[in-house]
């Protein structure tokens, strides 16, 4: 199926990312926006843009009929869903097909098979892909059935939402007495996040790493993998930093190819087409287990792009056009190392609580080996309606060491004012000896990393801060004194009070 106009059914940095790929391929672009996103970058970067409703996603970015209507109105023949929102919604993929629109993603059936985690586990098991021990079968389980199964699986275990993703509806249980309460709260969160309260159980693999395989599959049966991404740096199952290659795999090319081959097998088992990712848990002995497949573009795809030189979004568009994957993508070698820091509007010193409000200034780092994907700019607002991501800061280096040094430099240059960001978290993490040694698993951030301890000794310039703060306060006092004086004189004061006195001349 060919197309020359693409509607991007998303917002923020990923909408911008997809628009850029479309423009580079000479495709016409259509954006959609909610009421609060009228001035967003993705609207400004697109050839056309259409309003789709109020700020809450349920009334705008998740409204299938409005997206289809915008596609019809603009004459777009294809829809790219980005990540989140409707990207893993089989019903939406089906609706696009029924309306004669190309859904830039996998077929509805593949989304369905991977979307229900219970079905996915059963399918993978049957295809010979190793899965994490846990409940089996592909039907909804009652609390009684789950509790009975839990005794067979043993603790520690995880309660997970079958419709899940992103850590929502997930609970850890170390004592079976806590299971009923965990089931209740997991079901409640799953219901609110996905409209489906089915859950399943998985044995928790301790000391495991979260490593995922990037896959590309064309419509002609060719499936390739682009190597792995290390995603073990997480908090509450939210990824914070990703890198490629994984320091755990390093130059063990044999293991990399073994994991890659299993990823390819998983994709083939469901007739997968387009870009997708197989997430695995890898234990200390290099046993690995299928966790789930994300049937969409991942947030962290840029790290793979930087070490392979492949533009994954461009490949997605070409695959959707019916093109064959280029032969060079077979057995592609990684070059150098890449790291992505997710810059979120979260206060790392206060339980990572989200920070909302207007971004007064957003100066992003540049220079060799630095890439920033963002939809945020000075004057834009971080609202509670959408996720708290400000930007993805991605650095490439010839070695992991160089990538880390480059990232540290970039984080020092990064300036965001108006909201609190998690930049200090990344700065501290990038100085942690265990992180530097590549010695971490998925529970590292929560259990063995403390902002308070890591931040010690970071505040190297308190005297400089004291000088700046004092001069600022001094100027403020002087200024209000001047305004008082001028008001008494009956003169306009703006000219004299509107400027900072430059100190030290």
């Amino acid at each position: 199926m060919t197309f020359n106009k693409v509607l991007v059914a998303n917002r923020g940095e990923i909408a911008v990312r997809v628009l850029r790929a479309c423009r580079e391929l000479g495709l016409e672009t259509v954006a959609v926006f909610s009421e609060v996103d009228r001035k967003s970058l993705h609207v400004r970067f697109a050839d056309e843009a259409y309003p789709i409703g109020p700020a809450p996603a349920a009334q705008s970015y998740l409204r299938m009929e409005k997206l289809i209507a915008a596609a019809k109105q603009s004459g777009a023949q294809a829809i790219h869903p980005g990540y989140g929102f409707l990207s893993e919604n089989a019903e939406f993929a089906q609706l696009c097909a029924d309306e004669g629109l190309t859904f830039i993603g996998p077929p509805p059936d593949a989304i369905r098979k991977m979307g229900d985690k219970g079905v996915a586990r059963a399918t993978m098991h049957a295809a010979g892909v190793p899965v994490v021990p846990g409940t089996s079968g592909d039907h909804a389980l009652s609390d009684d059935e789950l509790i009975a199964e839990a005794h067979k699986i043993g603790t520690p275990l995880l309660v997970k939402a079958t419709a899940g993703g992103g850590g929502k509806g997930m609970r850890t249980v170390t004592d079976l007495a806590d299971l009923p309460a965990a089931l209740e709260s997991a079901r409640r969160e799953a219901k609110s996040a996905f409209g489906d309260d089915n859950v399943y159980l998985e044995k928790r693999i301790d000391g495991a790493r979260h490593i995922e395989i990037q896959l590309l599959a064309d419509q002609h049966g060719t499936v390739v993998h682009l190597g792995e991404r290390e995603c073990s740096i997480q908090r509450r199952h939210q990824k914070l930093l990703e890198e490629a290659p994984s320091p755990f795999i390093g130059d063990d090319e044999e293991f990399r190819q073994k994991m890659g081959a299993v990823g390819v097998l998983a994709a083939q088992a469901v007739g997968y087409v387009n870009a997708g990712t197989v997430e695995c848990l890898v234990d200390a002995e290099k046993n690995f287990y299928f966790l789930e497949m994300n049937t969409r573009l991942q947030v962290e795809h840029p790290v793979t792009e930087l070490v392979t030189g492949v533009d994954i979004v461009v490949q997605q568009l070409r695959i959707a056009q019916g093109e064959r994957l280029p032969f060079e993508l077979q057995n592609l070698a990684m070059r150098g190392a890449a790291i992505e820091c997710r810059i979120n509007a979260e206060d790392a010193f206060n339980q990572f609580f989200p920070s909302t409000g207007m971004v007064r200034e957003h100066d992003v780092p540049t220079g060799p080996g630095v890439r920033v994907d963002t939809g945020v700019f000075g004057g834009s607002t971080i609202t509670p309606h959408y996720d708290p991501m400000i930007a993805k800061l991605v650095c490439w280096g010839e070695t992991r060491q160089q990538a880390i040094m480059r990232m540290r430099r970039a984080l020092e240059e990064y300036r965001i004012l108006g909201v609190i960001s998690n930049i200090p978290f990344h700065q501290n993490l990038l100085r942690d000896p265990r992180f530097l040694a590549g010695d971490f698993d998925t529970r590292f951030v929560e259990e063995r990393f403390s902002m308070a301890v890591a931040a010690e000794g970071n505040n190297r310039y308190p005297e400089i801060a004291a000088i700046v703060a004092t001069l600022a306060a001094h100027e403020q006092t002087e200024r209000s004194a001047r305004i008082d004086r001028d008001c008494q004189d009956g003169q306009s004061s703006w000219k004299r009070s509107g400027r900072w006195k430059e100190y030290g001349r």
């Binding site: 929502k168 206060n350 959408y386 700065q427 505040n459 801060a465 004291a466 700046v468 004092t470």
Partner: protein, 169 residues
Amino acid sequence: MKYITTVDGQEYEVELLEDGRIRVGEQEYQVDLREVDDDRVFTVLVDGRSFEAALTNENDHLDVIIQGVRYQTEVVDEHAMLLRQVVGDSGALTEDYKLEAPMPGLVVLVPASIGQGVDEGDVLVILESMKMQNELRAPKAGVVTEVNVQAGDNVEKRQVLVVLGAGEE
């Protein structure tokens, strides 16, 4: 002009002298500060050392950011400091702890109820914001004296959700 400036809990006596000289504690510095971007970003030369500093106030106090590190500051001039010492700290009107919404969001669940005794770490309110459910917990043991919200309420940042009294010992 003398100021008492607190940086991350540490007090400094800062005196603005003549000709761009500033005394911080015992140490004197030659300072050249220029504004780069209206009232927010400055370039500072301190005895030849070059810093870029940003001023910001997301937390209701003036923060200074240098090389990505945030310094929490408070500046009081010496007269105000003297006054404060004479009058005494005006705070401590009440021992109550007010749980405020740390961000706007939707109240999902309110496990706290009036008259209930809670332990440190007990969940008082579950607030959904940015698609995440955040458990707001008691910072210390106490008794719930006020519950101002119920499940389904939309709340603004800093809205008081629950009040904890010190409770009988």
